[in-house]
């Protein structure tokens, strides 16, 4: 697709600067249930997002009808959109950085080269392995998905950037039943390197988890010491990520406003934004505005070091963009708490009476990132005198996320990512309010 005529038309109609963000994707997804292919989906798609500065305001438009006949509509929409904007924020189309880091590992051919047939066979095998591992496994659904996306950014200031990324996921969902109780578990590996998909390991982890939760019951309400397992911690962190956006700070909806260079968490907490992480489709040398990305510590030993900035918020705060510009604002790249030195098993042994939380449900609804308050359905295991006593479910844990960060007493060495880009190791927390019986 050639955009020269679009840039020409923009100029003729009085648009000062224009940028296109053009992405093309192909995807492949399968699911296996009872030895049969239950889902098989293939697709090719593209989308074009255009933004332009007209009379000092940024107009935007988006389309999946991608041909020259649409150019007039696109330009007219950009102008109509810009005319309604009353925000006085200064807006930018970026001329580009002098240098962009070469980021390796964004695209891995292995996942493209292996045949669909092989992927189906492996997914079927994963289902079978999980089913055969334990009599109490009653239902298994295995899935595989892969995607390839090419992104092009071009603008009227002469910037031209392009990146090709791919990703893959192989996972399994199991339901276990012991005749009295039914539980579910879910395990997956995300990578663009096909060699990372270890069928036996994925199946075993899912089944172990599903079986160990059987017979889970509520426990008495009270304050409990908590060991928040890596994925549960990542899922609780996800809705709170917006606190770190300079946009939230400037609009006065972030709890972290005014806290730069202050302690916001315990000394055990170090948080990074890492655009160069290997095998992640969120990695790359430039952000959606074309700004060069960089690795940065957001929180260093509990101290808040920076917010995430795009060009607009950086200008307002008199600083530089951190390379976190998104099409619609600000986004992190790979955002995670760094691993500590604690072994998970040692963390369990060190608890006299506490709870391991392995799953949290409803984090999209039960968290209020404006106040930091959360109250969430949880499940996991009761620990007494350093030993796992029994599985626990139908309880809620409640607290405030900033208080939680301050009450972290230890960080394990088991960093994991929640569907790609929000990561956490298991965190040991002084206490949380638990509601149960």
């Amino acid at each position: 697709m050639n955009f020269n005529n679009l840039f020409k038309l923009a100029k003729e109609k009085g648009i000062e600067d224009l940028q296109v963000y053009f992405s093309e994707s192909t995807n492949f997804e399968i699911e296996v249930f009872k030895g049969e292919l239950d889902k098989y989906q293939i697709s090719d798609s593209a989308s074009l997002k255009v933004k332009g500065i007209y009379d000092g305001k940024m107009g935007t438009v988006s389309t999946e009808k991608i041909n020259e006949k649409e150019f007039e509509f696109l330009i007219n929409s950009v102008i109509a959109s810009a005319k309604e904007i009353t925000s006085e924020d200064e807006v930018f189309i970026y001329e580009g950085d002098k240098k962009y880091k070469e980021v390796t590992g964004l695209f891995n051919n292995s996942i493209e080269e292996i045949s669909a047939k092989q992927k189906i066979a492996d997914t079927e095998k994963l289902e079978k392995i999980a089913l055969d591992l334990d009599d109490r496994v009653k239902f298994v659904q295995a899935f595989f998905g892969q995607g390839k996306t090419n992104v092009r950014i071009e603008n009227s200031k002469g910037l031209k950037l392009e990146k090709l990324v791919n990703s893959g996921i192989l996972g399994v969902y199991v339901i276990t039943n012991n005749g009295e109780d039914q539980r579910t578990a879910f395990e997956y590996v995300q990578s663009n390197d096909y060699a990372d998909f270890d069928l036996n390991d994925i199946a075993k982890k899912a089944v172990d988890k599903g079986v160990s939760l059987l017979g889970a019951k509520s426990i008495p309400s009270g304050q409990y010491e908590i060991l928040l397992k890596n994925l549960a911690s990542a899922s609780l962190f996800a809705p709170h990520v917006t606190m770190f956006s300079a946009e939230s700070v400037q609009k006065d909806v972030s709890l972290l406003k005014g806290k730069l260079n202050e302690k916001i968490g315990s000394e055990h907490i170090t948080l990074v934004d890492d655009p160069f992480k290997k095998k992640s489709s969120k990695s790359g040398s430039f952000d959606d505005e074309g700004v060069a990305t960089r690795y940065k510590k957001m929180v260093d030993k509990g101290e808040l070091k920076t917010f995430l900035h795009n060009l607009k918020t950086a200008k307002k705060a008199n600083t530089k963009s951190t390379g976190n510009g998104a099409l619609d604002g600000i986004k992190p790249s790979n955002f995670y708490f760094k691993s500590g030195s604690l072994e998970f098993d040692d963390a369990v042994k060190s608890m006299t009476k506490g709870l391991i939380i392995t799953d949290l449900a409803g984090t999209h609804a039960g968290c209020n990132p404006v106040s930091g308050d959360f109250s969430l359905q949880a499940s996991g295991f009761l620990v007494e005198d350093g030993k796992i006593i029994k599985p626990v479910s139908l309880i809620t844990i409640a607290g405030n996320y900033l208080d939680l960060l301050k009450n972290v007493t230890g960080v394990c060495n088991d960093l994991r990512f929640n569907f790609g880009f929000i990561g956490s190791p298991s965190l040991k927390i002084k206490s949380l309010q638990v509601s149960g019986d």
Partner: protein, 464 residues
């Protein structure tokens, strides 16, 4: 949109395989969104979505693919790629596409493209002003306007050939109240299958904005919620999200057909208290979750899910009907051409009972009154659910007492349904976006005020 002959040709290509069913779904959607923050318009965007999905099936086994292209060569290529999954002998199925049937219900009076963008943006300013005027403690308002026209054409090898036009609009207002100590937010998001007349004939923008502000300010002055087991009174309207999450999802064929739902095999059995009659109705005039046809080209209908506590119907799409040996209930829905359709809810609610709101409160010695619910989720295999309470109060000695915040409700669907011991006569519905395997779709939830005799309430304050 696409020439009928080309549609026929694509479907015929799909049947050059051992498949017994093929379907084409063409979507052309134009949406406009506008966002306001800090009393300024931040963003206005037009979006055109266009794509074509092709599905081929043999029995309940299906394959799906989509593309943005409407070129014959691309569509035939996609059909060929998909049909390779059914390499057996052709079943020799022949069919003809009839006359195009057009959806003729839920008509909009003022279509989105006939309304100037200035009028749409003005709603956001009005909502912002009304929310801020409500109280000095309101220090931020985000509001978002959306309208769209989604045109779909669905044709299949059973001869279905329909075109449905869904016009919808929604205004979502989020008000934040703040003091030295904390910030609390209140949300209200009315919407419907209407054109712009929604804002003059159906709702009052200022009243809706004030409601969001009222919740935020009330919660600013609320105490932390107590925790523990207690009776819970859940108010009408969005309170119906409890039924949607805790029961509705488990009645969708998506989980019933494979035997993973707690309600599999429970048809004609008692699963709820006698007081509970529940309905899913995709035909309610101009409701947010209504349409003339579902996304498999079948006429939307009304389904009685539970009748006086007895399970009478699941929600079933075409392919799951085959897996279940049951009839479809025309419940096939999807977010867009990027998703295969599956069984989904439309407008789902618990029907009116015989108590009054006042009787329910007066008969509750101590408990939680959940006036506004937030979102929630459920695990259909266990029935475990959770909900956030957006606005809550303690009920003490049969009277509504102090407001409480940060409460959540957890339980299992079956338990909660059995424990419904009072149902009022004040049914109302509210709008939401429901996310599941076939994407995010507009659905209404609803109920009259109900009381659940015992539920686990999670809060930051210890048990009383």
């Amino acid at each position: 949109m696409l020439d009928k002959k080309l549609i026929k040709k694509v479907l015929d290509t799909c049947l050059e395989s051992s498949a017994d069913f093929a379907e084409i779904f063409i979507e052309d959607k134009f949406s406009t969104t506008a966002k306001l923050l800090s009393s300024k318009i931040e963003n206005v965007t037009n979006t055109k979505l266009f794509g074509i999905g092709i599905r081929i099936a043999d029995g309940y086994n299906s394959v799906y693919g989509y593309t943005n292209s409407k070129e014959e060569k691309d569509l035939i290529k996609l059909a060929n790629n998909l049909k390779a999954s059914f390499p057996g002998e052709s079943k020799g199925i022949t069919f003809e596409l009839g006359k195009l049937q057009k959806g003729d219900r839920h008509k909009a009076k003022r279509l989105p493209d006939e309304v100037d963008i200035k009028e749409k943006v003005d709603l956001l300013f009005r909502a912002d002003k009304a929310a801020r005027d409500y109280n000095d403690e309101i220090n931020q308002v985000h509001s978002r306007f959306q309208d769209y026209v989604q045109n779909v054409w669905i044709a299949n090898t059973e001869g279905t050939y329909v075109n449905d036009t869904r016009v919808r609009t929604r205004l979502a207002i989020n008000a934040v109240a703040a003091n030295e100590e904390t910030k609390q937010s209140g949300f209200n998001g009315p919407g419907g299958s209407y054109g712009f007349e929604f804002y003059s004939d159906v709702i009052n923008v200022e009243e809706e904005a004030k409601e969001a502000a009222r919740i935020a300010v009330t919660m600013l002055h609320a105490d932390p919620s107590p925790s523990g087991k207690m009776p819970v009174v859940i108010d009408n309207g969005f309170g119906g999200v409890i039924f949607h999450e805790a029961v509705g999802h488990s009645l969708e064929a998506t989980s019933v057909a494979k035997g993973t739902s707690v309600f599999t095999g429970k048809k004609n059995q008692k699963v709820a208290s006698d007081l509970v009659t529940a309905i899913d109705d995709g035909t309610i005039e101009n409701a947010w979750g209504s349409s003339t046809f579902d996304d498999e080209g079948c006429k939307q209908q009304k389904r009685v899910l539970l009748n006086k506590g007895v399970l009478t119907s699941y929600m079933i799409d075409k392919l799951n009907a085959k897996r279940m040996n049951d009839k479809p209930t025309n419940s096939g829905r999807r977010q867009s051409y990027k998703f295969q359709p599956t069984s989904r809810m439309s407008n789902t609610y618990i029907d009116n009972g015989e108590s009054t709101f006042d009787e329910i409160i007066a008969n509750t010695e101590y408990g939680l009154y959940a006036k506004k619910m937030g979102g929630g989720s459920v695990n259909p295999a266990t029935g475990d659910f959770n909900f956030a309470v957006g606005e809550g109060y303690i009920i003490r000695d049969g009277k509504i007492a102090e407001p409480v915040r940060g409460a959540s409700l957890v339980g299992t669907g079956k338990d909660a349904l059995m424990k419904v011991d009072m149902v009022a006569n004040n049914l109302s519905r509210a709008q939401g976006m429901c996310g599941s395997v076939s994407g995010a779709i507009p659905t209404d939830v609803g109920q009259p005020t109900i009381r659940v005799s015992e539920m686990t309430v999670g809060g930051t304050k210890g048990a009383n």
